[in-house]
């Protein structure tokens, strides 16, 4: 995980209950995230299962999106246990998701892989932010700054934060002496 504490970039805004079939449809699950080319391919299909009312997330023929953040509502990442979901978003260039709440396995997969910051917001940020808005995320102070300068506090990650800080479950276990270095 990058050690940058301030992240800036565009937001892609979603509704409540975006499930893993929408994040990465089942037909791409044969792609193996640990094989570099297949990881890139996963990124190019990120969010390709969304209904048509959303603008395309990754443009035709490209492997990266133009967004740094996903801003979503409740229960983001519900559905299957596929780690392909956070990996696809990360491979497409997303650094953090800011949602009202997460499905447990998606949240856990973000932490364990260290691929994305899954941050929780107590307010309905997806009603305040528009697609393409520029946001600034301050990870040190757990705040996000909106285009008009307003600062919104995010829920601290707690124990899970320690695992992300370490860089994922393996590094965390090495640091705590659970497995050898």
């Amino acid at each position: 995980m990058s050690q940058e504490k301030i992240l800036k970039g565009k937001a892609y805004v979603l509704d409540d209950k975006i499930d893993t079939d929408q994040i990465i449809p089942a037909c791409y699950l044969t792609l193996v995230p640990t094989i570099p080319e297949e990881r890139v391919a996963l990124g190019s299909h990120a969010l390709s299962g969304l209904p048509e009312r959303y603008p395309r997330f990754v443009k035709e023929g490209e492997s990266k999106c133009e967004y740094t953040f996903i801003v979503a509502g409740r229960d983001f990442g519900c559905g299957s246990s596929r780690e392909h979901a956070p990996v696809a978003l990360s491979a497409a260039g997303v650094k953090a998701v800011i949602a009202e709440s997460y499905a447990r396995i998606f949240f856990r997969n973000c932490i364990m892989t260290g691929s994305l910051f899954p941050l929780e917001t107590p307010v309905k940020l997806n009603e305040r932010v528009k697609n393409g808005d520029e946001l600034t995320l301050d990870l040190e102070n757990n705040t996000v700054i909106l285009p008009d300068g307003e600062k919104i506090s995010l829920t601290p990650l707690g124990a899970a934060g320690e695992v992300i800080e370490a860089g994922g479950i393996f590094e965390f276990a090495r640091e705590s002496g659970m497995i050898s270095k």
Binding site: K17, D19, D21, Q22, P25, A26, C27, L29, T30, L31, V32, P33, T34, I35, G49, P51, R74, D75, C78, G79, S80, S81, R82, E83, H84, P86, S101, Y102, A103, R104, I105, R108, N109, M112, T113, A159, V163, G168, I169, F170, F172, A173, M178, I179
Partner: protein, 432 residues
């Protein structure tokens, strides 16, 4: 203070006397399950971190059970099963159920209990969200991603935040036409599809005790559709009976204490339950079948880890016996053992297979996940356009069964079969 069954199992595996919800503990794992979709990436992560010749933590505590994309010509799917085969050989894994030979079983969540891998009091993780199914046997069981699995494969250890428990109490006798599927859909409908996020759903009461193991599995299977970490039902005589002849490994039974602490309790009178469906596009979008009766359908799907077990096909056959289906009806047994039961189980002298054939169902499919999650384009029963399906599976998100234009209603095998007779959503009590 008393402990719930889930807390007791976690405490035991953390080497502690008790645990409290919210606490994070390392637990030792009794079994790791993975399949053809998540196995290959989990193995790659395990070998990247521990080295390519690193052994698994215990060759007898890992189960590799390919089931998702089996009956397809898709090259990547075939490659993934090969990767499982290679790993099983390299790591000398004791339990690999290979589609290329007679050890093949079918869908993991039905195959594992049938093969005797599920026992009360144990702690299981699997790389599939419906791993929570095994909670029907009074064990703690939850789904994880590949990195978690890669870690556990190497260490046998799992970092776990102790969940709060929610109690779902069903007292009384279920009316005719109402099944385990209606119990779980009603529960999810009550609390919403994120109503149990990070929590345990514990099911109890005389209506639960009355259910056979297949039906209890249906209930725990869908706990994740309310966001739960695990679903659990305490073991009893029926559990012991099921395990006889399937496992010789001794196990410990746990029960929740009378003064155990629950974050919430939901009580239901079993007599008042009715057949329900989950409408598109969420398992939490639940209403009585009566409210949507008459909705036109194009396809019926009876299969999957949720609704493709022997008890499910018996229920469907009870409705279809001596009648004809009006629309395409697909029968996909979850496992080989279930498939064999279609020839062994009889209603009034007719086997289930004969009943389905006489009713005009599609040719019975080989056991696997089938079209439950769509899958490769050549998957039998996968939706290709704007089909409207009633299905005994567990998810109805947009595109779940293939086409983004299709719609899926989740229902019990009774409701699915009754609807097959008329080509519209039908309350099964009208035909039973």
């Amino acid at each position: 203070m008393g402990q719930t069954i889930t807390e007791k199992i976690i405490a035991k595996h953390a080497g502690k006397d008790s645990v409290i919800p919210g606490e994070t503990v390392w637990v030792s794992v009794d079994l790791v399950m993975t399949h053809d979709v998540c196995g290959p990436p989990s193995f790659a992560i395990m070998e990247r971190e521990f080295g390519s010749d690193a052994p698994v933590f215990d060759r007898e505590k890992v189960v590799l059970i390919p089931d998702h994309f089996i009956f397809t010509k898709d090259p990547a799917s075939i490659r993934n099963v090969d990767l499982l085969r290679g790993y099983a050989k390299r790591k000398n894994i004791k339990y690999f159920y290979d589609p290329a030979n007679e050890t093949y079983r079918g869908v993991c969540h039905v195959g594992l209990p049938q093969a005797g891998h599920c026992r009360p009091g144990e702690l299981v993780i699997g790389t599939d969200s419906h791993t929570c199914t095994y909670g029907a046997f009074g064990e703690f069981s939850t789904g994880v991603g590949n990195t978690d699995a890669g870690f556990v494969l190497g260490t046998g250890k799992f970092l776990l935040k102790v969940p709060r428990s929610l109690l779902f109490l069903f007292e009384g006798k279920l009316p005719k036409g109402v099944m385990g599927k209606d119990i779980i859909l009603t529960s999810i409908g009550r609390i919403g599809s994120d109503g149990a996020t990070y929590c345990t759903m514990e099911f109890r009461g005389s209506a639960i005790s009355d259910l056979c193991m297949d039906e209890r599995m249906t209930i725990c299977n869908m706990a994740v559709e309310a966001g739960a970490k695990n679903g659990i039902i305490a073991p009893d005589e029926k559990t012991r009976e099921y395990l006889k002849g399937r496992t010789a490994v001794p196990y410990t039974e746990y029960q929740s204490d009378p003064d155990a602490c629950y974050a919430a309790k939901y009580e239901f009178k079993a007599e008042e339950l009715v057949p329900v469906v989950a409408k598109p596009y969420s398992p939490g979008n639940v209403c009585p079948v009566k409210e949507v009766a008459g909705t036109k359908l194009t396809q019926v799907y009876i299969g999957s880890c949720t609704g493709g077990k022997t008890a499910d096909f018996k229920a469907a056959a009870e409705v279809l016996k001596g009648r004809k289906v009006k629309i395409r009806t697909i029968i996909t047994p979850a496992t080989k053992e279930v498939a064999a039961s279609l020839d062994a189980e009889k209603i009034d002298g007719q086997t289930l297979r004969e009943i389905f054939e006489a009713a005009g169902c599609d040719p019975i499919q080989p056991p696997s996940c089938g079209a439950c999650m769509g899958g490769p384009i050549d998957t039998y029963g996968r939706t290709m356009a704007d089909e409207v399906v009633v299905s005994t599976t567990n998810r109805n998100f947009p595109g779940r069964m293939g086409s983004m234009q299709s719609q899926v209603y989740l229902a019990s095998p009774y409701t699915a079969a009754a609807s097959a007779l008329f080509g519209v959503l039908t309350d099964p009590r009208e035909v039973l």
